[in-house]
Structure formats: structure tokens, C-alpha cells
Amino acid sequence: MLPKPFKTIGIGVAFSPNLKANLYEAARLALFFECKLVIIHVGKTSEEKIKILKNFLDNFKNEKLSYEIFFKPGNPVDVILNASEEKNIDLLIIGAAKREKLFTYYVGSIARKITRKAKCCLLLLINPSIERVPCQHIVVNGLEDPKTEQTIATAFYIGLKLKAEKLTIVEEIKQNEIDVNVEDDKSLRKAQIIKERLRNRERSRINHIIEDIPKEYTQNIAIKSQPVFGTQGYSIGHYAQIARADLLIMNAPTKMSFWDRLFPHDIEHILTELPTDVLIIQ
């Protein structure tokens, strides 16, 4: 049995037309993961606001949702980050904004700052809805990274809890790993062979990770492994969009070496055009 990855879910709310949908999504997730829900509002507390929130959350009374409401005025980024540390939040939900006319979603400037600084897992929701939209297809990254094992394990946990049917592990193979510039027939053949070898290597690596995960998590879900050749951190978003995934789960960027410092640049791409709901695992 895997340890429970999430114990407390936090959500920052504003009193906008989306409030109800956001709350419903958060409450449902809290119930699925058997967590406590912390509702954070940046602003002064008032009876009226609490009443509105309670009104919505009363619909989950039967399921015994435990929740806490937290009010604090100040700089939204700091308040939410401090609150999530204070309350031991390990999954923070952030609503994404939608660009007018174009049907694309992006993370607003406040949310983006939170994304960069947060120490807990983050869930970026693109279209919160009041009715539950079943989560059928989860796409998770399979990067060669020490965090990946944990990320994939969490993905299986979520898959089980949300009763997803399919989980695709995407290995993004970087261009510089192929190391052959295709110029003519000979180099093309060479590149093909290297690609095939990389594909097999990635596949076996992923299979090892899956083997280490308890069977009860993996048996009821269709597992697919898909190597894609492209820019790390970005191609997976593109893939999730094409594969019409309902949830994309990714590692948080590691900031260590020079190359890793380039990585946030890629996650910025995903943040400017969210392909679907994105969960970033710390």
C-alpha cells in the first residue's frame, strides 16, 4: 500500500461567478482522496461571505466533508503561500483563466507566481464544473528524473481514486539524446536505430517503475507507454491535448544544473496554454 500522498487540500477562492464550480471540484476531490479541505480567501472576513461558502458546502454534508475556512487580507501570493505552509496543505488547487474568444486557457499572473514558489503539489483546473465530469484518461510524464517514480506512483493512486480507465506514460526523448543529425540516408538509418534503442530503453525503464507499484493500483487501469520526440515539458502538453487527456500529471521542475534551469522555461509554455487540467507533483 502506498502512503497517502494527500492529506489536506487547499483552494484559493474569490467571489467570482466560478466560485460554485471551483468549490464543488475541490470538495469532490477532497472526498475522493479522503482529505480535509482548506478554503483560503484573500480578504477580510465577513458573515456574508462565510454564509455563501457554507451554503455551497452544505451540499456535501452527507458525505461528511471536513473543511476549514481561512480569511486573511494581504498580498494574494504571500497569503496563499503562507496559508498553505501553515495549514500543511499538500495539494493546492488553482483555477485557470480563459482567454477571451480563443478557446485557450492560461494561468493568470498571480497563479503563475504561486506556481513558481509553491512547495506543495498544484492542481491547475481549466474548466471546473458543478456536475462531475468523469476523469477517464490520465497522462503522466516518464522523464528520467529521480522524482518520476514518485510522480508515476501518485498518478496510479489518483487513477484508482478517480476511477480513471486509462493511464498513458509519456517519455519525452530529447533531440540531443539522438545525437545524430539526419542529413542523408545513412545518417537517417543511424538515427532510426538510435531512436528504436532509446524507445526500448525508455520502455524498460518505465516497466521497472510500474513493477514496483503495488498491483492493486495497476490492475484495473489500461496502461500505455508512448515515447514522443520533442521538447521536454512542452511536447507532453501537446500530446495530452491530442490524446484528449482529462488530467496531465507532471514533475515539478528541478532547479539544479544549468540545463535544469532551462526547464522552467518549458513549464512556462504549459502554463500559457493549459491543454487540460494539470497536476504538478513536488
Binding site: K98, K101, N127, S129, V133, P134, Q136, H137, K163, E165, K166, N181, V182, E183, D184, D185, S187, L188, R189, A191, Q192, A222, Q226, P227, V228, F229, G230, T231, Y234, S235, H238, Y239, Q241, I242, R244, H269, T272
Partner: protein, 728 residues
């Protein structure tokens, strides 16, 4: 070891053919080399030197197979400027420098640089070069040498020259003009006369042979002086020994000046564009379907240019006309390029004095014809057909090139193209936001490569798509999906069309999807395409995919309608659509009995902000009997939906493999088990996987939740047809 031996054997076997085609090419290369050099105001032999050095070095070091290297048409304009502003000796220095830059470009693998130019701008530039050649040489062709400052003045004076030529009273000039006009007529009508013996020798060589014969006739038979005025004869062709002995002085003193480097830049730019375009075009002609190593060729061309510059020759580029003659005459490897150079040396050694018997107007007629071909009104008509905006790009590039210069010309072409793209899309953000994003994703589906392009795809970021496509062997199946792409420009469409031809020639399959909902201004397949926010019901033109479907319909004797139909009641009873809203079906293919209907469909899931629009290709079969309702699916996607409706996976006895691989769901388990006889079960086990659903009377079959390629449509149709037979 044996393979290597084999290579040597095939090489020697192919040698006679390559020697022959090298010979034929040298027949064109000789007059063209002389003419191109004279048009650039360099000594005539400079062109031949470039061809010889190019032929030898590129054939030994290059990376392409059946190309010919030598002096290029496109460079005439730039060389002319370089020689007139810098002087010949400094121009050689500029040629050497441009050779070095080309070499560096090759080492840096920047062969893709030529991809950044919109194709209409390149067309405009080439037309301008054509006009520069034509404008200048037309006067010499009619024996009326003039000197003007501006290229446009040369063009404007053509009528006066014609008028003067009609009224010549000097017989020397009259004969010179007649030689010019006759040669021009030979160039025009040569390709129209299909005679086996006549076609053995290329037109430019006929001109050379006839004019030399003419001169000998007067000398040996009529015992008269050649009637063509002496100043209109080629002069200054040195003996072979002189070329070796008297190397030109190369003057690097102007290396610190601005005009020197603009010349170098222009030379490099045009040399690389002309070479890369030619290599790409020749690769399509290669009978053995090889892929050229562009960067290696660039290195060889650069080195050859340096060598040619030191020996007193012009820039070396890959030339399309000579290369195509090379292929047509049976060349199969690089040795033909080598032999073409060798034969040129032989000609110069043996006939250098005879070459002085060629009248200048005759030689210039060849160039006038080349210039005309580059700037032919036909090209303009073709561009107009693609779209009005392309014509603007074309003319802006053309006029700026003529009026200011080549670099400004191509730069203005790029700029205007970009502005037009912004205007068409009414958005700068589309380009500004997405330019640097890696917008192309490629991965391998079961059997084919799938390439998806996001945001926009134009000359600005085509190289990203290109590098992905280049990494796919041409024998494979490729699907390029533009449905997430809002804007695709003409340069991309044209290049994709080239890939399509290439893949088909080499046994692969290349298909472009997702453009059916994009709008165009013209009916041309290369027209730029913009995704419409609100799809029109009636569209101006069919996409290539739609045209291919139309052909497929004829082939399979089906009725094809591309129209969008909102009447979709025949799909209502399928469980799959219970939670989905069908917007319309289009591209319908219906068979004679109206039982099999293949169609593209757009449907949406969810509403308002959760709305997702999906396009897919499906097959609907009307059955003549009732069957139980069921759903057959591999991945269990719909399991939940059906579990919700109280259905569960139904096992079929004695077919564990089938039961393991498929989810079979339905209400009436007994009827379904009875319906899945051995025959039907075997059919599903042994055929590719599709989602199959029955609503009691009809069947619905589809593969992926995206539009199918033509090949996939055929497979789907075939599957449905056989299933229909098995079921009924």
C-alpha cells in the same frame, strides 16, 4: 567487404552512362559558362573555370548524387554589381570570401537557412534576376550595346533598341543582330521539335556549332571576312596553358569597406538559396531515390568557390537546368559531374581558338532566354492563382530588387509577407506569442508517424516541422495534422506538397489532415489557409484531402458529398452519442445501395466552458436484419458509461483471446452471445481494432477520435464491407 566490391562493380557498370551524360551536360555548360561570365562582365573563361573547379571538387567531396555544379544564373545580377563597384580583382576576393562563408555554413549545418524565405519572395527575387539578365543582354543580342545606370532603364529601352535594330545600315551589325535573333528562335523552338537526332545535342550547343560553322563557311568556302562586326565576337578566350600560367591577381585591399561585404553577403545568400533550391528539386528527380546531404554539399560548394575565385572563376553553385539534363541523360552518380568538368577542360584545350568564332549576340540570346524563363508571365499567373496576397509579395520583392538591390529585395519580401500574415489573421499575438514555442509534436502510432502542429505554421517556423519530417524515412506513412493550427501559409503548403510527391515516389505515404475547416481565398492547393472562428457551411474550395476522397469515391464507385449536413438522425440511437452533441457530418461517401456510409463528423462533448469539439471519421452500416444492441471496444473507455446503464462485459465461450482483448458490452447478454458466432468472433480477432457499436439495426464503426487519412478511410471501408458480409 563483398558489399564494397559490389559498389565498385556497379560504379564501373554505370560509368559509360555517366560519361555520356557528363558529355551532354558539358555541351550546355560551355556556352552557358561563357555567356553567364560575360553577362556578369567577367572574362568569358571565368564561367568555364567555375564549372571545371565546381565539377571536380563537388563531385569528389559533395553530398548530393546527380547534381551539376557550375556558374549560376541567379548570381549574374550580384556578380555584375560586385564587378562594377569593386573592380574585377576585388570581386575575386569577394567571391573567395563568400566561398569561405558557405563553407562555414556547411560546417554549422545551416543548410536549413534557405527555409526562412517565403516562397513568393524567392519567386519575386528570381524574376527580378531574370529581368536583370534579360534587360541587359537583350540589347547585346540585337547588337546595340548601351550603358545605363539603372536596371529598369535597360528594360525601358528595349523598344528603342528594337527600333534601332530594324534601321541598321552597318551590315556588320545587321548580321550580328540576325545571329542573335536566330539563336533566340533556336532556344524557343528547340523544345517544341521532337526529333531524336536533333535532340541529341542541346540547343545552346547547336547555337555554338552553327555559328562556328557559319564563320568557317565564310573563311574556307566563300573566302570572305566574317560579315559579323568584330566588336560583337567573343574575344579574350585564352589558351589552356595561359590559364594555368597567368593566375589573376586577387586584390584584398577593399576588404574593410562596406560595399565589399554587401557583395559578399549577397553572393553568399544567392549562392546558398540557388544551390539549396536546386538540390531539393534534383532530389525529386533522382531515379535511385537517394537523399542528398545538403550540408556536405554546401561545404563542397564553398570550397569549390574559394578555389574558383583564386583561379579567376566565378561562384560555384548547384544548377537546376544542367542537373536535370544530367538526370535525363542517364546519370546515376557524382562521376557525371566530374566528367562534365573533364570534357570542359578538353574543349578549352582543343577548341579555345574556335570558340572565338562565336558571335556575342548568339551567346547572349541563350541568356535572354534564360532570363525570360525566370521572369515569364506564366510564373506570375501561377502566383496569382494561389492568391492575391502572394502577388503583392511577389511584386514588392521584384521591384525592390530591381530598384535597390538583392538583399533589400529579399528582406522587403520577408517583411511584406509577415505584415500580410498579420493583416490576414488580424492578430500579431498569434505570431508573437507562439513563435518560439516548439509547436510540432511527432510520435509513432501503431504503423504510421503522426505529426501534429499547433498555433501557426508559416515560413517563420517551418524549419521546426521540416526537421521532424526529415527524420522520417520516405518509405513510411506520415500523417500531418493541422487541426490545432490556426494559420498555415503558402510556403508551408508548397513545401508539404513537395514532401508529398517525394514520399509517394519512394513508396511512402504522406497525408495532410485538418485543413478542411480552414478558409482560403483561391482554389489553388497551395493557397494559405486560416482557421475560421465560425465555420462556413459552403466553402470556396476543396482541400487536397477532399479532392483525394473525391477520387477515391470515383475509384470505389461511391457517391461523394463534401457538404456539411446537419441532419444526423441516423446516429441518434447509438449509445456513443448519448452524451455528445453532433454538430454536423461532412465528406460523406455513400455506396450505391446506401447501406455503407463513411463520413467525417464533428461533435462536441460537454457544454459551454467544458465544451470540447472533436472531429472524427466514422462508418455507418445499415443492416437488413435486426441484431442485438452491443458495443465492442478494446480499451474499455466506454465501460463506465455502460456500467452506468447496467451493462457489463460479456464473455464469449471458447474464445478467451477475444474476451481478453475486447470489452463486449450490451444489455441482452444471451442474445449477444448467440450473435457472436465463431465466424464473427474470428473476424474481430483477426482484423485491426475498431470501435464497433450496434443500435439494433445499424452498425457504427470508427478508429481513433480524429480524422482519418485516406489510407485509413480505405481500411475502414474495407473492414466495414467485410463485416457487413460476415454479419448478414
Amino acid at each position: 567487404m563483398s558489399k564494397k566490391k559490389n559498389n565498385i562493380k556497379t560504379f564501373f557498370k554505370a560509368l559509360p552512362k555517366n560519361i555520356f551524360s557528363g558529355f551532354v551536360v558539358s555541351l550546355i555548360a560551355l556556352p552557358l559558362g561563357l555567356g553567364l561570365a560575360m553577362a556578369s562582365e567577367a572574362p568569358p573563361i571565368a564561367g568555364v573555370i567555375a564549372a571545371v573547379v565546381g565539377g571536380i571538387l563537388v563531385s569528389l567531396l559533395g553530398g548530393s548524387n546527380v547534381t551539376i555544379a557550375g556558374p549560376g544564373n541567379g548570381l549574374v545580377g550580384v556578380l555584375l554589381v560586385a564587378i562594377t563597384t569593386l573592380g574585377l580583382e576585388s570581386a575575386y576576393a569577394a567571391i573567395i570570401c563568400s566561398g569561405i562563408i558557405l563553407l562555414v555554413l556547411g560546417f554549422l549545418r545551416l543548410g536549413k537557412l534557405a527555409d526562412f524565405f517565403p516562397s513568393s519572395a524567392i519567386q519575386g527575387m528570381l524574376a527580378a534576376i531574370g529581368l536583370i539578365i534579360l534587360g541587359k543582354q537583350f540589347h547585346i543580342m540585337l547588337a546595340h550595346r548601351i550603358k545605363r545606370k539603372d536596371t529598369i532603364d535597360y528594360l525601358l529601352e528595349i523598344p528603342y533598341t528594337i527600333n534601332d535594330a530594324v534601321h541598321y545600315d552597318n551590315t556588320g551589325l545587321v548580321f550580328a543582330a540576325i545571329a542573335g535573333v536566330l539563336s533566340f528562335l533556336i532556344m524557343i523552338f528547340y523544345s517544341k521539335i521532337r526529333n531524336k537526332y536533333l535532340q541529341l545535342i542541346p540547343a545552346p550547343m547547336w547555337i555554338v556549332i552553327l555559328s562556328i560553322a557559319f564563320s568557317y563557311y565564310f573563311e574556307l568556302v566563300a573566302h570572305e571576312k566574317n560579315p559579323i562586326a568584330l566588336e560583337y565576337m567573343i574575344s579574350g578566350i585564352p589558351e589552356f596553358s595561359e590559364i594555368i600560367a597567368q593566375l589573376p591577381t586577387v586584390n584584398f585591399s577593399k576588404i574593410a569597406t562596406f560595399p565589399f561585404w554587401t557583395s559578399v553577403l549577397a553572393l553568399t545568400l544567392i549562392a546558398s538559396i540557388e544551390s539549396l533550391l536546386s538540390i531539393k528539386a534534383v532530389d525529386k528527380l533522382d531515379p535511385e531515390k537517394r537523399r542528398s546531404n545538403v550540408n556536405r554539399d554546401l561545404k563542397a560548394l564553398g570550397l569549390a568557390t574559394v578555389g574558383s575565385g583564386f583561379l579567376g572563376g566565378l561562384n560555384v553553385v548547384t544548377v537546376i537546368a544542367r542537373s536535370s539534363v544530367n538526370v535525363n541523360n542517364g546519370a546515376s552518380n557524382r562521376s557525371s559531374n566530374f566528367f562534365h568538368a573533364l570534357f570542359l577542360v578538353v574543349f578549352i584545350v582543343l577548341f579555345s581558338t574556335q570558340l572565338q568564332r562565336i558571335p556575342l549576340p548568339a551567346l547572349m540570346a541563350i541568356l535572354v532566354y534564360t532570363g525570360y524563363k525566370l521572369a515569364a508571365p506564366e510564373n506570375i499567373r501561377k502566383i496569382f492563382k494561389i492568391g492575391r496576397e502572394q502577388l503583392i509579395i511577389f511584386f514588392v520583392t521584384l521591384l525592390v530588387t530591381l530598384k535597390v538591390g538583392l538583399i533589400s529585395g529579399i528582406a522587403s519580401g520577408v517583411f511584406v509577407t509577415f505584415i500580410i500574415h498579420i493583416i490576414i489573421n488580424k492578430s500579431f499575438g498569434l505570431f508573437g506569442r507562439n513563435l518560439l514555442k516548439p509547436n510540432v509534436l511527432m510520435y509513432q502510432e501503431d504503423r504510421n508517424y503522426y505529426v501534429s502542429v499547433k498555433h501557426f505554421c508559416s515560413f517563420l517556423n517551418f524549419y521546426k516541422l521540416k526537421s521532424k519530417i526529415e527524420a522520417i524515412p520516405e518509405t513510411e506513412d506520415v500523417i500531418v495534422d493541422f487541426s490545432l493550427c490556426k494559420f498555415v501559409d503558402h510556403t508551408v503548403m508548397e513545401n508539404l506538397n513537395n514532401y508529398q510527391e517525394l514520399f509517394i515516389k519512394r513508396g511512402g505515404h504522406f497525408e495532410v489532415l485538418g485543413l478542411d475547416l480552414h478558409d482560403t481565398d483561391s482554389k489553388h492547393p497551395f493557397a494559405l489557409r486560416r482557421l475560421l472562428p465560425v465555420p462556413k457551411l459552403i466553402k470556396n474550395s476543396l482541400t487536397r484531402r477532399q479532392k483525394t476522397i473525391d477520387e477515391l469515391a470515383e475509384d470505389y464507385k461511391l457517391n461523394y458529398t463534401s457538404k456539411k449536413v446537419r441532419e444526423t438522425h441516423f446516429l441518434d440511437n447509438f449509445l456513443f452519442f448519448r452524451t455528445k452533441k453532433i454538430n454536423y457530418v461532412y465528406n460523406q461517401l455513400i455506396d450505391k445501395n446506401e447501406t455503407l456510409n463513411t463520413f467525417d463528423i464533428e461533435f462536441s462533448e460537454g457544454e459551454f466552458i467544458a465544451k470540447e469539439v472533436i472531429r472524427s471519421t466514422m462508418l455507418h452500416i445499415k443492416l437488413d436484419k435486426n441484431i442485438p444492441e452491443f458495443t465492442l471496444d478494446q480499451e474499455g473507455f466506454l465501460e463506465k458509461v455502460y456500467a452506468f446503464a447496467g451493462f457489463k462485459d460479456i464473455p464469449i465461450e471458447n474464445h478467451t483471446d477475444f474476451s481478453n482483448r475486447f470489452y463486449l458490452l450490451g444489455e441482452d447478454a444471451q442474445a449477444i452471445q448467440a450473435f457472436f458466432t465463431d465466424e464473427i468472433t474470428h473476424f474481430f480477432e483477426s482484423n485491426p481494432y475498431y470501435h464497433v457499436e450496434s443500435n439494433g439495426r445499424d452498425l457504427l464503426i470508427f478508429g481513433r477520435e480524429r480524422l482519418a487519412s485516406i489510407k485509413e478511410i480505405k481500411a475502414l471501408y474495407d473492414f466495414g464491407k467485410r463485416l457487413q458480409q460476415v454479419v448478414s
